[in-house]
Symmetry: C3
Subunit: 140 residues, 3 copies
């Protein structure tokens, strides 16, 4: 039984950015030597999300529009309570929650066991600074 | 330490359908021989969700109404950007995200360790075609 | 390889309450003796959520406002279908779904492997009664 841990660092050029990290996760699994098990992919910062969906730019546009409609970047009047702390990113905390912030995926035969269109994305909602994602592999 | 994998296939008669898969998952755990550990239940298609909630038809109705209200099946005017690819299912990608698309459950004494009303559901949002769910058991 | 299970009990004084359980989970990990692995934290009742975000009271206020705006506690007219069963808590089932109801976290060096602001919260949406959370540790 093996456990293996790696940390991915991202520093996006834009505030909101979507990065396909499927291959990076698969390479970590290969390196771990785990043939059968689970991999957790979890953003270690609370204004980003890791989710699984299609690698299609139109859909990524739709995700952003959905998030902005459900949770505007700022509220009229007094804005979000969290922003009274001097922060400007309350929306990013809420967006990452609606997106489901982490995924656990299956490893079979030493690789991600993915359906035909499953891709793992890192969704940055308050970028332009260095942030980490943990990849924890556990299995045999 | 053991790992065990099975794939469930579903081909729903309706576009949107909710299927209680609790017993199916429990049978896979029994077959795996794992007494203590974790089970990941993850839809391998990105327009479906696996979630845990009540086996109550009224609540399932409420879930559908909530999803339709937050993310309409089509947008007035130009519709979702994803649908420009020729697809008609952008809403299903977004719904499955809001539902939380996967669950990891505890195994204790060789069975799902569930609270009194926890039931595992497969929620199909773009059905009428064959789709898979992976069940990965890991433990001792 | 080790597996370890504990059940946390909560009986909140308010209907809606947020409780930081990060330290409790870390103590369970220490007790388990697992140095490297995964921990699942899952509410066993379906009107509560476990999520990871900031320990900041303004943000907790913002979460509640977001949930109330997206899913009102009651619907005008006929209310939620689930409430026809005699229940009054349909909103709580839906809220816990939007929050993402469970988390799996990494264990490294015998402790939760957390980013700088990651905190694990138990979010009770229909409290004032005894409810359980399962903590399942798996690793080496």
């Amino acid at each position: 039984m093996k456990a293996h841990t790696e940390y991915l660092w991202y520093n996006t050029t834009k505030k909101v950015e979507f990065i396909n990290i499927t291959n990076v996760v698969d390479e970590i699994i290969a390196k771990s030597g785990v043939k059968d098990g689970l991999v957790l992919v979890n953003p270690m910062h609370i204004t980003a999300a890791v989710y699984v969906n299609d690698a299609e730019s139109g859909l990524i546009h739709d995700f952003k529009e959905m998030l902005k409609k459900l949770v505007p970047e700022h509220l009229p009047g007094e804005d979000y309570r969290h922003n009274r702390t001097g922060e400007d990113n309350a929306y990013a905390h809420l967006w990452r929650t609606l997106m489901g912030h982490q995924v656990t995926m299956a490893i079979t035969n030493g690789r991600l066991d993915l359906g035909p269109w499953e891709q793992i994305y890192y969704a940055e909602f308050d970028g332009q600074r260095r942030k980490r994602v943990i990849v924890k592999v556990l299995g045999i």
